[in-house]
Symmetry: C2
Subunit: 352 residues, 2 copies
């Protein structure tokens, strides 16, 4: 398995960065979360003049055996149909990535369909979908390690091509079930607090989903310390590959943009393996999916956006990108009190 | 005085727009607030294919006599210094407007300084700052009407030049005091719930500001029905001109992007005069300034962003622009289930 070592942030420049921020022509702290972003990105890149280059959205797609248990209102075939929609440019993530000049790559981590080659499609298929985790692990240990290694390699390839910010999206019918189980075990939270309506279950559908996942959790009977076994048990291929890509991104000191519930569940696995990864992450959007807010709290994460979206695909991360860019821009381009000849506070000012 | 007549939204296309949104390749409602925006903008423009053209940021600047009472940690001269900073491209709003391709115009509504002509500066000076509203009205009735008329004319000029979305920002040392008094009288809320730390008052400064504003409110003893007299009493010139520009923008069916506390206070005045204006507004950001959230609640407004900013200048509105653009883009550019060949929900789906 790829050996990940994610260092803590280099804080050598922290106070100089803060000073630079405080000298901008604005009241102290008046740019709020943008100031925190500027401080974070400056530290990640270890410079007073950070830049975001070749922003890239990786959308990982995979199918899930558990989808056969009727826990989603959409048939499994929709995963492949949506991948084709991504390749044809018609999905939400296409629109938002294009608007914000992000490169978009679709990664087939294990969709139950053989796609024709396409310039935006990365064939990294581990299998034709995972096994149902009702009565056996979703994947083998070897498949899981393969997914992690491939994921890390995909991130490295982007970073080698001068990208320093990677956003993570996903597509996979039933993958909220997979994410809910990962969260329940790794955070040690009852499954009822981790499940949600996914793409739109009604009350009866939600109750059925909860009951099925409870059975699966009882069958596997894993605990939070067995991180790799939990990932092997509940999958999916796209989540495991995302874990690898996230670890690879942070290892090479690029910035991670974390979208909704499933991407955050992948990050949970990554953070259990390498806690320092959290310093490299920007949390994009708090999903309407129940469980996401609780998972974010567990990770100590505060997303920048809450637009009541629950689409996945990385759409929240694509929408947040201009705000992250704005943080870098104000740090580089705003005048200081001295350079602009603006009087500073007369002294009763304080950071509020 | 300019005669404003703002019609309600034309709802003829509402259900067709909603149908178009629901046919996009995503679960019902999954784009959350972006769907509400698409519906609103489609109705304002009365089309299924709305476009945002020539987005323009108008930053209104003015000085306030009340600034002499020590209710801001910055000296009055900072208003003019910041206007020069805007003209030199060094302020936060310059950086964010440029990033998002918004035209930026600085309107001198009444700064206590004579500026040299500049291509981005609109000279609309009503006076060299308002009078202190401690013991007399901030402006005359005639000055107030002049400000409204000029403001409406500025909006019309932009719209005639093919702009259909106008964002509102402001600069004026002590203008949170002005906005707090407008809010207190027009919403009939005690001043303590309307004041905040502005650019950074400490506890003692906040107590002093509250006491001074309480005296001013007692002196004028106006009630919520006397809308124009309240605006005349508490000003400022930049706020009155913004009121006129907002009314003019809605009258010509352009979209309004409303930034923080002061712009929202101007909108409060406008909405008291013409309640339909609210249908044309997008609320950008919930300011860190105390009172703003309460004012938004009063207007039934839910801002899209909460980045803990409190800078003014229109910065929140500039930052929200890409999200508004994204709403228009998904409506125009996303594929439908039929066009993309994606299976729809099997029926257990519901909008959550």
């Amino acid at each position: 398995m790829t050996n990940f070592q994610i260092p803590p942030l280099d804080s050598a420049l922290k106070s100089t960065l803060q000073q630079k921020i405080d000298q901008k022509t604005k009241p102290l702290g008046a740019l709020g979360k943008l100031e925190e972003l500027a401080l974070q990105i400056g530290q990640i890149q270890n410079t007073l003049t950070p830049q975001l280059t070749q922003p890239t959205m990786l959308v990982f797609a995979g199918d899930h055996g558990i989808a056969q248990s009727g826990i989603s209102p959409y048939p499994q075939a929709v995963t492949a149909q949506m991948v084709l929609n991504f390749l044809n440019g018609g999905a939400g993530i296409n629109v938002f990535a294009k608007q914000n000049n992000m490169q978009l790559r679709i990664v087939d981590a294990g969709v139950n369909y053989q796609f024709e080659p396409h310039p935006n499609l990365i064939n990294a298929k581990i299998g034709m979908g995972t096994a149902s985790f009702l009565h056996k692990p979703a994947m083998t240990q070897s498949q899981c390690e393969q997914a992690l290694t491939i994921g890390a390699g995909l991130a490295k390839k982007e970073i080698d091509a001068n990208c320093n910010v990677i956003a993570f999206g996903e597509m996979g019918i039933a993958n909220t079930s997979s994410a809910s189980c990962l969260m329940s075990v790794l955070c040690n939270v009852p499954i009822e607090q981790c499940v949600g309506r996914g793409t739109g279950l009604d009350d009866a559908g939600l109750a059925k989903k909860t009951e099925i996942l409870k059975q699966a959790l009882q069958y596997h009977a894993l605990d939070a310390q067995e991180i790799m076994r939990v990932l092997v048990a509940f999958g999916g291929f796209e989540i495991a590959m995302m874990v690898g890509a996230m670890l690879g991104t942070a290892q090479h000191k690029a910035l991670l943009l974390i979208d909704g519930f499933i991407a955050t569940a992948a990050l949970l696995v990554a953070a259990k393996l390498q806690p320092n990864i959290l310093h490299y992450c920007v949390f994009a959007h708090c999903s309407g999916e129940a469980g996401h807010r609780k998972l974010l709290d567990y990770l100590g994460a505060k997303p920048l956006l809450d637009l009541e979206m629950r689409l996945g695909e990385g759409t929240g991360a694509a929408l947040v990108y201009p705000i992250v860019q704005a943080a870098v821009n104000f740090l580089n381009d705003m005048a200081s009190f001295a350079s602009a000849g603006v009087s500073e506070s007369t002294g009763v000012s304080e950071k509020i």
